[in-house]
Structures are given as structure tokens and as C-alpha cells.
Subunit: 337 residues, 4 copies
């Protein structure tokens, strides 16, 4: 860390910070500049050290040097991680596509979508059974009955099943039916949930919270990794900004940034990332072009009748067309999809 002293800080204040640095088990190094004094604090970063120094008398700011996460970092593990479940593979060169309805609604719907997205090239099926809804008056999902239908669709198609888990106590139930546990954007910093999915040993798809920085996103992943579970997929799904022509703003630069920063696979959800069906395909193609390891796309046989997220769902035919474009781009760039 670098401790920057205020202009005009006294020798006594500087000495106090040096002492504080040393009490924290770090080595100090004082640099007297033209207008400011700066104190470097060297050594293993201790939690709380930054905060303690920040409150020191005469301190203007403390600049951290090291990234706050460890196990997610390419500094710790150079080789990209591949996360897999059945024939769904994502990362380390594999592009994996997850598709399906926002919510499981009935047997016919989920089986129909499963067959269609499989035919178009998806390797995993999404479908919500426990639905976190902004309004308590909205459809909350079919619960266990929905999970049973997802398992049925898997049995018929061989697609891996991805479904959201909303509470630690539901983990054992989901484990019986699904292949990948999804942690939704609203729960990205629900730490008891992160620990529970980590301890399940199952692959986890972690969605970025709409106000999360990259450090916060990777630290959320770190909660899972710390349990010993390395099967974590990161998913960019859009952030909250002032833009109002889309539901969220989809910042695709996240993809190349994370490819350089972490070994975990990064996929993109253009459905939530735009909130408009007619923008999904161009952003899916762009995500592949930016280097994404996969996609998560909402597909519904009849979006007009969907119980949730119809406005951002593709029909099976539109999804198939999107996959054709994605495949062209992937192949042009020497990747396989």
C-alpha cells in the first residue's frame, strides 16, 4: 500500500503512520516528495490494514497495490479453467451456450424449448423454478415441480440443466435435479448463499450484480473458490446506468478484461443485458467476437404468453438464427461453436 500524507503533514504525523505500519506487521518506507510525503507499506497485505491507515491523522488517502482477490487471479493460476457438466463445457477454449425460458411454466413448454435449443446448438438448458421477482405480486416460479420438469427435459435431451438457487436451504433440493447452480445478480453478495453453493461441490454460474465493480465480482467468486470449489462460471448480464433505451447497459469490455485478469470462464447474458428481444442477437454475436466463453439466452416458444421476461425472450426460430451468426463469427476467429 501507498499512504499519501496531506500537504503540510507534520513529522510527528509521519512518525505515527510509520509506527502504525510496523504494528501492522508491514515494512515502511518513507519518500519525501516536493509537495507531499508518501509512505510505502510493504509485505503481505493484512486485512484491515488499509482501513486502519486511512483513518490515521494527516493521511490523505491510501492506495492499494495488490488486487484484493487471490484464487480467482491469473497471478495464482495461469491456465484457464474449464467448467463442465454433462456435455456442457465452458472455458479453456470451449464456448458453451445455455438457453431456455426465464421460468419453467409447464411440461410442454420446457420440453419444446429444450428440443429446439438443443437442435440449434445449445449444450445447457436454463429455466427458473425458484424466481426472485422484484414485485411480491409477480409469479414466483413452480418450485420443486419446476425442477422435476427440468430433470425430465434433461433426460430427454441430454442438456445440462442450469437453475437459480435463492437460499442456502434450497441447495440440497436443487442438487437432486440440476447440474449447475445459478446465483442471480440480486444475490451476488449474499455471502451465506455463496458459501452454500461453494460447499455443494457443484458447478456454479455467478451473475454479476448490476452495481458491482470487477473487484467485487471477483471477490464474490472468491467466496466460492475459498470453499475448494473451482467450478465457477462468471456471467456478465448488464449494469445499472443512466441509459433508458435498454433495461441495463451491457459492458462487453468486461469480457477481454476478465480474460486477462482471471482464469475463470466468462459468459454473457444478452437477454438481461439489453432487456429487448430485438437487441439480443446482435449483442450475442458481439459477445462471441469479444472473446466470451459462452452465452446465456432466454428462449420461449411464445414470448407473448410467457409468465416472465417475454419482452426479452427469443422464439426458438430467432434463437436458431442467432446461433448461425454466432457460429460464423466464432469460426472466422478460429474458435469452435
Amino acid at each position: 500500500m501507498i499512504v499519501v500524507m496531506k500537504p503540510g503533514s507534520t513529522q510527528q504525523q509521519i512518525n505515527h503512520i510509520v509506527e502504525l505500519v510496523e504494528q501492522l506487521g508491514l515494512r515502511s518506507h518513507v519518500i519525501v516528495g516536493t509537495e507531499r510525503t508518501v509512505i510505502a507499506a510493504l509485505g503481505e497485505k493484512r486485512d484491515g490494514a488499509k482501513q486502519a491507515l486511512e483513518t490515521g491523522d494527516g493521511v490523505e488517502k491510501v492506495v492499494p497495490i495488490l488486487a484484493p482477490y487471490k484464487m480467482a487471479s491469473t497471478e495464482v493460476r495461469k491456465d484457464p479453467t474449464c467448467v463442465s457438466a454433462l456435455e456442457f463445457k465452458v472455458g479453456a477454449g470451449h464456448i458453451g451456450v445455455i438457453a431456455g425460458p426465464c421460468s419453467v411454466e409447464n411440461e410442454e413448454q420446457i420440453l419444446h424449448v429444450a428440443r429446439e435449443v438443443k437442435a440449434a446448438g445449445a449444450a445447457a438448458l436454463r429455466g427458473g423454478a425458484f424466481k426472485p421477482r422484484t414485485s411480491p405480486y409477480s409469479f414466483q416460479g413452480m418450485k420443486e415441480k419446476g425442477l422435476e420438469l427440468l430433470a425430465l427435459a434433461r433426460a430427454e435431451t441430454g442438456l445440462a440443466v442450469v437453475s437459480e438457487v435463492m437460499a442456502p436451504e434450497h441447495v440440497p433440493l436443487l442438487k437432486r435435479y440440476v447440474d449447475v447452480l445459478q446465483v442471480g445478480a440480486r444475490n451476488m453478495q449474499n455471502y451465506t448463499l455463496l458459501e452454500a453453493v461453494g460447499e455443494s461441490g457443484m458447478p456454479v454460474l455467478l451473475k454479476r450484480g448490476p452495481a458491482a465493480t470487477m473487484d467485487e465480482f471477483l471477490l464474490a467468486a472468491e467466496y466460492i473458490l475459498k470453499t475448494g470449489n473451482t467450478q465457477v462460471i462468471l456471467c456478465e448480464r448488464g449494469i445499472r446506468t443512466f441509459e433508458d433505451h435498454t433495461r441495463f447497459t451491457l459492458p462487453l469490455a468486461t469480457v477481454p478484461y476478465l480474460k486477462q485478469t482471471t482464469h475463470l470462464p466468462i459468459i454473457v447474458d444478452p437477454s438481461h443485458g439489453t432487456g429487448k428481444a430485438n437487441l439480443v442477437a446482435p449483442m450475442a454475436v458481439a459477445a462471441i467476437a469479444a472473446g466470451a466463453d459462452g452465452l446465456m439466452v432466454e428462449v420461449h416458444p411464445d414470448p407473448e404468453k410467457a409468465l416472465s421476461d417475454g419482452y426479452q425472450s427469443l422464439t426458438p426460430a430467432a434463437f436458431a438464427a442467432m446461433m448461425v451468426e454466432c457460429r460464423k463469427v466464432a469460426r472466422a476467429l478460429g474458435r469452435d461453436l
Copy 2:
């Protein structure tokens, strides 16, 4: 709802939307304008109706007319709600101040702070025992031992105790020790938690998520109200924006907006809202001037040694000085503090 058709929409598309509106149990009303056709959909709003209409062929957008929340609205209940616990009262004319350390660290610390904030005029003591921390490597709280110390401080001072609950399964434990359950900003949309705190029957302090709109904030409150528990305090604690000279941006216009929109009390947390100790007092005074029903402020006997949030904590002396200013402003505006 108002359904706005695209320019050049056909009569067939319009007829289809009219049918859809009627299938949804709503009355339709077609208005042919100079350049667009607009269809009003009248009646009790049905969940999912907006979404179904949005996906209709030829539809440009659907504009909701009614607020999505009900029980939180001043349309349903005109009289302001007072939330109370022991001598702590907030709302309906009462200004309640909650103060204390970010985390409970030890007996001496919490008792010392409790006495000091009580003397300065606080009616409730805050202190984290279960701490949601961005990094898994940060101090995670003293857990039950921390709750015991909070209860001890209450026994000695009479202050009501406010502490955060991170998971539904912890609710019974917290209920044994604390007076007000806090739902943190990261968990504002953790719906299983909202239902659990609602069902506890205890007063709940609900913090705004840093990317939550007012509708989302009030809908989160609605999850609690829907359980029959009306003791909900809303807390503005800052939002995520591009500003980098403060940790969050504290939008005080939330206060008068919510006073006009909901009967629930609204308090302000200038500690998280600024993230800088030297900005806390001016923003606390401004919050009272804007009409806030209370404050939540971090106070630590020795911020430099705090295990969390020292950079934004006031010393007991600074807190007492802040209270003097707040009281002057409250009284000047004819309010009591």
C-alpha cells in the same frame, strides 16, 4: 396501462392487442392519434399483463399508470407510520437516531460507545455481529458472542439494539438479542430473507441497495409488509454512481420524495452514504433539514483501530458535536430531537 403502437401499425395488429387486453381481463380503449395509435388498458392491474402486451406484434412500448407497490403507498395509508422499539421511535413526527460501531469488537468497545451515544442523544445502538464483507478475507463479525455484548449494552443503557441479519436461518437467534432487524443493502432483494424478517414480527430496518430505484426499494418493503408486519424503516445509504470523491453518492432528494410517496419512515445513513468521516456531520445535518425521520451513524471509540469502516466512523466526541448541530436545525424547523 397505455400501449403505444409503432408508427404504421396495421389494423390487424391493433385488433390483436385489443383482444390480448381483453383476455387479460382488462377493458380496452383505442385512441387514434395523428401519428400513432394508443390503446388504454383499464382495470385492476394483473401481474404479467404489462409483459404480455410488450411482446405483442406492432407494440412500441407499454407505459404503466399505477405504481407497482400498494401497501407501502400513501394511497393506501395516509397517516405516517411510527416504528418503535423500547424508547427508540422513528416516523410520524419522531426523529430517531441510531449510532454505534460498524462491528461489535469487544465488551469495552461496545459499552463505551453505547454510553457515549446515549449521552449525546441516540435512542438506538447499532453494531454488527454478522458482517457481510466484500472480501472473504475480511473480519466477518463476532457472531453470537457479538449479540450477547449488544444485549449487555442494552441492559446497561436502555438503548434499543439494531443489528444486521444475513440469512433467514439466523432470524430466531437475532430475535433473542436485538430489537430491530437490519436488512443490509446487499440483501435488499434477497426475498427469502425479506419474508423471514417480515414473519418475525419484529421492526425491520431496510437499507436501499446501491443500484435500487425507488420502485424497487418500495417493492422490497412490500415483501415485508405483505407478511402483515408494518414496522418497516427505510434507510437511504447512498447509490453507486461515477463519483469517486465519495464512496457512494448520497441522494438526499430521496427523503422528501419518499415522504410524499410512502407512509413508512425514512432515515439516512451518512456514514456509508459518503464513506468519509469528515463529510458525515454536514450530511447528517442536511438530512435532518431535508426532513429525514432519523439517522444511522457509525461511531467508534478509536476509528484508527476499528476492525471495519474506521475511515467513515466518528469518534464519540465528533458524534456529540454532530448531534448538537442536528438538534439546532431540527428545532429551527419546529421538530424535536
Copy 3:
């Protein structure tokens, strides 16, 4: 427009709004719903009508139905506009790439870059001669001497020259040397400048302001179009958000959104849009995949020695490699580059 009355609005208030609507030369249409009354105001939208109605007693909000811009809209002109200068063509199927240094620094630099970017496939050369700099202490550009060097580079390579104009009084000077006038992001709402560049009759490259909505962006274009000048290129260059791992957030969904909304060509600037050289190429490729009509990229022979924006500039070799990838993707999608 749709005027939504507050719940409990009186008949007198409703009558008053109806009168106001009619005074504004619009037809009114009252719709009495279950909980609210809504008044549709039909006819040609009059400027100020929305504002007048918004202040009416008993009015909750006024919802506009029509987009506020006209000449930029696909509703007015269906065929895409092609903007061209020398051999540089953008829009209506043409992908045009503009490349060059942030600032013109000397003859050798600009000639070297011009040759290299031409060889790699760019059709236009960028280079700042008048530089708007955040700090008054930063290099402000070579002024007219820089323009002369740009003209020299054009003479040698045949590239069209794009350069920023900062004030109406500079327009005649730039007109003597350059082919496309650039209006920078900071000046997107400098209306006297917009009118001046419009009246110049020259092609204009209009950059999106970092806090501009799509309506504001298109209304800024409308200031230029209203002068009769239809040669306007829109340029997405990133917005201000809370993200701190990139300099700006580059929202590529702007591209397909604008393709559906306006006939004007839309290009992307991944250099300013990310602010990091190592993210430029992936975002350039993604922009092409999303359907962009062109790119604007900073290239410097020796970024380390650049007088401005070195951190986001590509070397000529990196630019050439980027063009190879962009071309692969364009061709895979049936476009020519």
C-alpha cells in the same frame, strides 16, 4: 401525450387540464380508469406542451408518445444515409475506418501513421490540431500548423482527414484543411457549434457525450440536420458509469438500437470507449459484429512518447492485426471491409 392525473384528482382539476390541452391546440380524450383518470392529448406535438401540462394542478406525470427528434428518425427517412469524403464511405452498407494519433505532433509522426493505417485498410486519418483537454496545463494541440500537416498526409496518402473543431469561429479555418469536422463528446450539446458545423455543409462526425441519452444524442444530430446538412456520422465513444476498470463504459447495444432508430451511420470509438490499449482490439471486433458502420481508433507510432492518450493508442502493428480480425468478422457476416 398522455396526462396521468393523481389518484383522487377532482373533476375541476380534470376539466382544467382538458381546457389546457385545448388551448395548446390539441384534442383531448378523457379515460376514467379504476384508480386514475388519464387524459390523452392528440395532435401535432407543440413545443412546451408537455411542460405546461406537467405543472397542471392534480397532474402526476405526462408521458410523451412521439420521439422528440424528427429528421434523424427512420420514420422520416427509411433508407440508410451514406456519409462520404474522398474514398472514405460510412453507412448504407459501407464500413469506414478512421485511424490516427490523438494529436498531430510533427510531420514525421503524422506521415508515418498515415501510411501505416492506409496500408492496414483505414480510409480516413484522424488527428487533433485543436485539442480540448481536461486540464489547462495539458498540451493543447499544434493548431493551424497541425492542420497543415494533416493536409500534407492527405496529399500523400489520399486518406480523408477528420479533425475536431472546438469553436464556431474555427470552422472556416478547418474547412480549408480537413474533410470531416469532428464535434467532440464535451461539445455534443454546444448548440452554437452544432449550428456552425451544420452550416459549413461539410460531413460531421458527432461524438456522443458521456452522459447523453439516445434522445439527447439524436436531438444534437437534429441541430445539424435542421441546417439542411444530412452528412452526419454518429459515434459511440463510451459513457460515464461507476465502472473503474475501464476509463468509460462502452455500451455496444447502442449500435443495433440506433440502426433501428435512425438512418444515420453509427461508428464506434473503442479507444476512448475503454481507455486501455489492451481492450481496444476485442471491442473493435465486437463493434463490427454488433453491426457498426465503422470504427475510429487511436494509433501512434510510439504510444509511450505520445503527447496525449498514449495509454489507449495502438501501435501501427497492433492496429493492422486488429484490422485483420475485424475483416474476418465482417466477411463472415457478409459485409465488406
Copy 4:
């Protein structure tokens, strides 16, 4: 500056950066940490030095230590600056209130408002004659005729006149009629305009751009100060965020932050800052409580008939009531208004 090297940077890369630092005329100081090497660059900051170092091979990031502005800083001038025009005084203990209509519309309107706001305690009159409007179809102001009416209102009431200037070439014209030149939010980074108003020698009111950081805001002020003109008033008028219940988000923490950072006076515009008439008064009172040196408020005799900004304008009576509350708070805090 502090140059942070990437993990695993080579000795050769480090040597190269040291050389670069020295070529830039700075002293270098290498600190070898446990995981990273850090190089401090000491001496007078040279423009461009940060950028040059950022592009160096093996460099992860460069952290500036000094604020980028100088003349605006409390480090250069400790005593607060008072800006004055006629009897209007702001800063250095003086609270100055500017009030008036968004646009000058006719003689009766401006004289009426001028008398009313004077009676309520305002010392300056605002009124737009040259109006920057988002849409080219909106009312653009009365131009010189409007300035004449403002001068008439000044002659009658003694109020100082504040009006916006949109282009350098208008400065001489405005100088003949007004006392304070306003630079609008859209023009905060219109550097030719900043230089022109600086050179006018007149007091300048500089509004914060809705996406401007504090550093950018103070650097814009620095453009004016650098001309030798120290009569600069900073005005917080709200920022662009995701919030949609207000037109902008008004971040009052700007006030105490700037009071600590700069000697220039800082005032608040709660009209643009909220965009809703019913939120203006509470935010005005809160701004005074936060320590603001003044206010700028839109007042119109009949907001419903206003040609611009009616929805956020107060009636003279509402303004007078607001002033009563502001005065109570100012006096309670020992300030005079």
C-alpha cells in the same frame, strides 16, 4: 506519481521505467515489495508524464499523488474567496441567493419576479436570454431583447443579474447588460468559452456538468482562474445517474467536499438538481444545512404558462416560504441569510 509494475516484471522493464522517469525530469525511487515493484517518481509534475509512464512496458498502473488543479486549491490559497456583484455576495461567510425564471419571457414577467424574489431575500436575479435547449424545436430565448429586460429589472430592483452565455462571441454583448456570466452545465468543458469568460474579467458562475468528477469540475474552474480572473462561483446542479424519480441526482456531499478542497464559493441549484417543484424547497434547506454558500432557484409567476422548466419552477409565494425555512436553518447554524 507512483508507478506500479505488473507482477513478474523484469529488471530490464524496471530499468526502462527508471530511465523514463528521469528523462521526464523527475527523480525515481524504486521500492521492491513482496509481490510487486513500485517506482516513485518525485518532483514537479510534468504534463504528460503520467501518460508516458502508463504506456511503459511492464507497467500495471500509475497513481497520481497531487491533485491536477492548482489555483483552485486550498493548498494555494487558504482564505475563502468572496465573489460579489452589486449587493450580491457569495462565499467567505456570505450566503447569496439567485432566483428568477428559467427564461426571460416578457417585461411584465421579469419585473414581477424580480420584485418578488427581492422582497423574499434574493440578491441576484437569474433569467435566460440565450437558452441552450436539448431540442432545436424548443424556445431558444429572447436573445438581446431578453438582456434589455434583465437590465431593466436590475435598474428597478438593484438585483445583480446572472445570465447564461453560450458562445465566446456573445461575451461582449452580455457584458453590457449583466453582472455575472453563467456557464451552463452543457458547456462546462467548452474550453474556448471558459477562456473567454475568464478574460472578460467578470464574475463567472460555473455549473457542474452532469457527468463531471470533482477533478474535472475544478480543472474547468482552473481554465478561468488561469486567465487571472478569480471571481468564480461553483454551482452543483445534479448529476446523471440511474435514478428516475428525479430528473438528476443532487449529491449534496459535494458541498462539504468542495469547502475543504477549494477556496471558491459553492452554491446549489435544487431546481435542476431535482427537476420537480415539490422537491426544491427541502433540498434548498438541506443545501444550506450542508454549508452551501448560496442557492440558485427557478421562480416563475405562473409555472403552468412558463416557456421552459415550468415543472421545476416555484411560484413567488413558494419561493418566499422556502426562504423563510432556509433563513431559520442558516441562523440556527450561526450563519446569516
